[in-house]
Symmetry: C2
């Protein structure tokens, strides 16, 4: 790595002259500027970012802490984050909490010692359950945090959330009112998360508002979830619609229904949660709730970048990104 000092020696000028010349300062004469920049290019000089960071006490790096990258929703959000940060000359360092509280804490403490200017987080499942949130309290005093999707009400920071309750409420109501469905099954495998609870409650409200019965299956992947769904459907022939509240069980439900030789959407309508590939891997194409992960990521990082740019402390806001019901082929035509 070639440094200012080496350039200075080779050119027989001082370090500060080189520095100024390279930043095109008006203090430096055109002739020297040219000499300097030419040698710098030749030797492929790049200012050492670590040194700049130390000097400016700004890293231009954002710490992103997510539970997983193999969940397509988070992958999508991270993609949105990357795009916006890139446009604002920020890099990101990603830590994966793996839904573990301890891993999340470690990541935070590691990054909080000057490595990043701010954080974007979706809190780990274990953190939500145990509700051990000291690390957020500590950090939020020093560096701005933006939380998305899985947020903590008791932490004072900017938040970007999905209107989980209303989204599922409306999807359920759609099935009842527009498709005249009366026996709607909800399939859930994220019951313990706050977002999961909101979604279930949205479903319940819509169903109860129409004086219908709730039908809920809670899955977890250990068992054989497709069998469970199939058995349930066989035992409950009255089911005429399914709502799945995560990105995978909707497709599983669709496959189960097909296996029972029921017609979709004639006999049973299905609405799942969408992700980038869901329409490619389902047939007929799954009707989905699109959570707009990309936009969520963009908004979260824009808020963070803006916060870092403005000196005055503005009050914390919670922005809501409205999910969109995308009617494809597993619901009847509108």
């Amino acid at each position: 790595m070639v440094t200012l000092k080496e350039l200075a020696k080779l050119l027989n000028v001082s370090v500060s002259t080189v520095s100024k010349a390279l930043s095109d300062s008006s203090e430096i004469g055109e002739a020297t500027k040219k000499r300097v920049t030419e040698l710098a290019n030749e030797l492929n000089y790049k200012p050492n970012r670590i040194a700049q960071q130390l000097k400016s006490s700004e890293t231009k790096v954002i710490g992103v802490v997510v539970p997983s990258l193999m969940n397509p929703f988070f992958a999508e959000v991270v993609h949105g984050i990357e795009t916006t940060l890139g446009n604002n000359n920020y890099d990101m360092t990603i830590c994966i909490s793996n839904e573990s509280l301890e891993k999340e804490q470690r990541s935070f403490y590691l990054l909080s010692s000057g490595s990043v200017d701010g954080f974007i987080v979706a809190v780990a499942r274990e953190t939500q359950i145990k509700y051990d949130i000291k690390h957020f309290e500590t950090i939020s005093k020093n560096a701005p945090i933006v939380m998305f999707d899985r947020v903590l009400n008791d932490i004072d920071c900017n938040k970007v959330v999905v209107d989980d309750f209303n989204t599922v409420f409306e999807a359920t109501r759609y099935l009842i009112q527009k498709e005249n469905r009366k026996h709607i099954l909800l399939i859930s495998n994220i019951e313990e998360l706050s977002v999961g609870k909101h979604r279930v409650n949205g479903y319940k409200k819509a169903v109860e508002e129409h004086n219908l019965k709730t039908n809920i299956i809670k899955l977890d992947r250990e068992e054989s979830p497709d069998e469970l769904i199939k058995n349930y459907l066989q035992a409950h022939q009255e089911i005429d619609a399914i709502i799945s509240i995560d990105h995978i069980t909707g497709i599983m439900a669709l496959n189960s229904v097909k296996a029972l030789s029921k017609n979709v959407p004639e006999d049973i309508s299905i609405i799942g949660f969408g992700y980038v590939d869901s329409e490619y891997v389902s047939s007929p194409k799954l009707s989905v709730i699109n959570q707009k992960g990309f936009q969520i990521g963009q908004l979260a990082s824009q808020i963070l970048v803006d916060t870092l740019a403005s000196a005055e402390k503005v009050n914390f806001k919670t922005e809501m990104i409205k999910s969109e019901l995308e009617l494809n082929e597993t619901t009847k035509k509108a």
Copy 2:
């Protein structure tokens, strides 16, 4: 952010005393050590990592540059990378090239100015096609690079590759020899990538070795790929097996076949490329080639960490991770 200097002032000792005390140096007396650590804890002192990095000219950060995170294969690899790096006290900053040469170059130059100790890359599609690889040549002189999956033969560095040719060759041969298939269709949507070419060639070799005819569909997502597959199958009723060489078209093929009321695997066997969710979103469960993304990520980062740890320059190696044929329900029982 509390610094050594502040601690020193508060304790009426010198900065170096504080520094040594905190690193439990034998030079410092127990009494002062105690005073120092207590105040440090109280004030939540964390050494500024940027300063440490400048001092040691080591960042303990690895730059990871991948084409996409929404491709589950890369998400899996990144997960493997994160795990291994975490175990070795490294962080990672991720850049997404989005398959763009220019974005890839920018990422490299940005990170190469001291921000990271080394790189892990899968090269962008555009880079492979245009074969503009100057940025790799430049960087590889200063920082170690490990390439995975999409590698560049002309760059001298460590590599972790998948045996694409043999994997598909063997899968095809399996269909021919064990399942007695004679009309095998290959579906591809990554023809232009080197890995895609290898896979196609593996297929061709197996087919031709048995004096069978090759049948290939090239897809791209703009058109309506499922229709294309369906039409092809309808026009070619003799097809009795399908190999798909990416993570998504295998499931598409399965759905198309079912739509034509053919039985899987009785009438048609299908083998796709697997990813974490493929068995959950297919029914019957797709038989897949498992590329072992997680292991690839682990190995790539282990190699990089080892390289950084050892002073002597060892020769560059190319390691091969053997993919595994996982026979599920879309092939006949072995």
